[in-house]
């Protein structure tokens, strides 16, 4: 059977044909955008974090009374925390993986004009790599005597060694070995020599959309500044024991008067928080898409039932003239496919138009042309399914029924 009769029937029911086309177009646009944003989220979820977050704990606290000499407090904390059964390694830290929100930079040369490389700088002690559980790729880790301790002041001489992540090493030095190279962790300030390169771990810089997730440096520092945030602690614990150790950790910190713990959690929670805002939006968008696809399918079922009913007589005559059931079924499927394809083309144009004009609308700046294609194929299948039920009914019309 040719396409001509189908085209003729479009002419007869312009309104309905237009409705199908429009609806398919709008559905494609909406679903594509929700797929884009869900995809952006899933991509972030599926990037390896490089950390065994389930077995890591963080603790952040602050003294709310003045005149505390933190030197003694820090070494007491470190000692007591490491004595908790189940705690394997402890380090002080100025930042928490997955939660790093400030952007810092490192430089390959001195001077105020030096090119900047985005990287989160962690200040940890010589247990850093053990706590993080990342591996040394080349070079060495810090020696305990290299770790700068105590109160920072403008005169402080900063440590002369630094470790950097694999990703940062690649970005700064390419194929060259970074070992022995000098970098400036603060613009035009004291430089440090790269002594080790470790496997990547996630900083949480995805959050601000500007930072690089794997670019990190670690400086051997166990330090504090008056009137600033007190250093936090990062711990590696026996597998599976993280949740149960939280309270022990808090008790150790609270043994000291005048202190307030504002964050004490398993690192998986921090990781979850990193993804939350986007994932909740994606969930809503996904639910919306499902509903929209359902509605479109309902509409198509209703519409085709209507068309079938209207053409009962023609179908009957056709059948009497020798058309098989298959022919009839094919006719309706083909008719719907033609309309759907028209709708899909319009919808693809709409999707791209919206994505270019309002990049923020779907929460992502990226258009994936292949995804539009997949969504289109999916919608076409749904539409075929929706047509099938009423079309089957049409095919079952007996010639004798309608030709009286």
């Amino acid at each position: 059977m040719g396409i001509r009769p189908i085209l003729l029937s479009f002419k007869q029911s312009k309104f309905f044909s237009l409705m199908v086309v429009l609806q398919v177009a709008l559905t494609l646009a909406a679903v594509s955008h929700s797929v884009f944003s869900t995809n952006a989220l899933l991509r972030n979820w599926s990037v390896p974090s490089g950390l065994d977050a389930r077995n890591m704990l963080i603790e952040r606290s602050q003294f709310f009374i003045d005149d505390i000499n933190l030197d003694g407090v820090i070494s007491r904390d470190l000692q007591q925390l490491s004595q908790i059964p189940g705690v394997q390694h402890v380090t002080t830290t100025n930042q928490i993986p997955f939660a790093a929100d400030g952007i810092s930079e490192v430089f390959k040369e001195a001077g105020t004009e030096a090119q900047r490389y985005l990287a989160a700088t962690f200040q940890m002690n010589s247990s850093a790599l053990d706590v993080l559980g990342v591996e040394l790729i080349s070079g060495r880790s810090f020696y305990p005597n290299e770790v700068l301790k105590g109160q920072l002041s403008p005169e402080t001489e900063y440590p002369s060694v630094i470790m950097i992540s694999d990703a940062l090493a690649n970005e700064m030095f390419g194929q060259e070995s970074p070992l022995g190279k000098t970098i400036w962790p603060v613009r035009n300030a004291q430089p440090a020599e790269v002594i080790g390169v470790y496997t990547n771990f996630m900083t949480g810089q995805i959050l601000n959309g500007i930072g690089k997730s794997y670019n990190t440096t670690i400086r051997p520092m166990e330090v504090w500044t008056p009137a600033a945030l007190d250093p936090g602690y990062l711990m590696r614990v026996d597998p599976g024991s993280a949740e149960s150790l939280l309270e022990n950790v808090r008790d150790v910190i609270y043994q000291q008067q005048g202190r307030y713990v504002f964050r004490n959690e398993v690192l998986t929670r921090t990781k979850k928080r990193m993804h939350d805002a986007r994932s909740s939006q994606a969930m809503v968008m996904a639910a919306v898409s499902v509903v929209l696809v359902l509605i479109t399918a309902f509409g198509i079922v209703g519409l085709v039932s209507f068309l079938v009913r209207q053409r009962e007589k023609q179908i009957g005559i056709r059948r009497a003239l020798g058309a098989t059931r298959k022919n009839i079924l094919r006719y309706f499927l083909l008719e719907n496919t033609l309309l759907t394809i028209l709708g899909l083309i319009l919808g693809a144009a709409l999707t791209i138009g919206i994505a270019v004009k309002f990049p923020a609308l779907s929460g992502t700046k990226f258009i994936h042309y292949d995804y539009i294609l997949y969504v289109a194929i999916f919608l076409w299948c749904i539409n075929l399914l929706a047509v099938y039920w009423p079309a089957k009914k049409a095919a079952n019309i007996k010639p004798a029924q309608v030709i009286g």
Partner: protein, 453 residues
Amino acid sequence: MLAYNLQLAWISLRQTPGLTLLAIAAIAIGLGVLMTIQTQSRHMRSLPIGPVSENIYLVQMDNRDLNAPSLDQSFEMPSLSFRDAMYLLNTDTPAIDATTTWKTRGIITTTGQEYNPVRGIAVATNSGFFSIFNVPFLYGNGWTADSDTQGNAVVVISNRLNRTLFGDEDSVGRQITIIDKQATIVGVLDEWPITSQFYDRSFFRGFSDDIFLPQSFAISMNLPRYTRIECQAADRPRTRAYQLADVRHVINSECAWVNLWVKLETEDSVENYKSLMENYVSEQKALGRFPREQNNFLDNIVTHQNAFLSRDARFKFYQRLSWFFAGVCLLNAILILLAKFIRKTKEVALRRALGAKRNVLLVQYLIELVVIGAIGALAGLALSYLGLQGMLGVYMYGTDYEYPLSTVEQLYQMDWQLIRDALLIGILSTIVAGLYPIWKVCNVAPAPLLKTE
């Protein structure tokens, strides 16, 4: 007659169960989505402290640099400097009641404590706070005006903090330590049914504030200014110090951070207050302050809330989406109902030939539509309940369960207005959707159709 029509409607519904179900589903889904979003929107727009929200105004006078961008919306304008706020608070004005507010925070402990220290968000304010905002008390009262002037170490605490510290007992007269200063509790708040924290201009809906204390006391113990401080260029580098440490200078600076709320009940008093502000700024200009052209605002809480809501781009997007959805669903309902009623052509032709009036048929099908609409509305109601619960769940998940359910869930509650709207919109939109199909089917000419039978 109605019973007979309902019976006919029921029979007709059962004749085409598939299409009827589809029609009901289309209406229910559209309604569910629309009601979920509109209910949230309605809750968000509800007046923060009831009708009095319209009579409480925020006083703003533009004291920024000459080269600062010009602003024509009060929402963007900084609050007042301490000295201006204090002058207007203490001078004779048309306002019935007035108070200043700013946010601060401190770590709370009590002597002989058996629990860990609590971080408390505090509001530094005046005795007028409790009267102007109708704050309800569980125990005790607010402090007196004397405490404002003398900077007495007194506090009012929320019932949440009272529960944490004293287990719901009447704690009036007991002492708490804020950082390292002792203060006496003079009152404990009852549940305060405000929808958001309008009084610090944040319209925040998470926690309620824990502590209320005299501004003079907060300044004397140098509690941090936990709020945005807008300084002129000369002072801008010191903004952070002004937030944390430098209280002596900040209260004499041109930096804006104090919210002044005044209660004005008549148009006249609003006009009088405006001219008072104008005169004050003119005087100060003569003294070399207020470098810019006069640009004063006296907007009430409702105006500020609306400006705040109109900035919520994501929610606006959801709102548009929900209308779009409802529209698509309605179009679908039209299609499905058309398919459904077109099947009745023969029946209509027969009945018409037997003498049934067109109007009688129209009424009968209208009743059938109402039945479909009512069922669709009920199903839509169920869906909007699920939708609201789902949105609540998503919100709680998205904020990592940081805020107590009790303060969040009021945005996601079903109420009578939702039920009324759903029924009304459901039935009306079904009638709208079905009008064309039933009109079409009732207008068939009986003869040609019957001839073919």
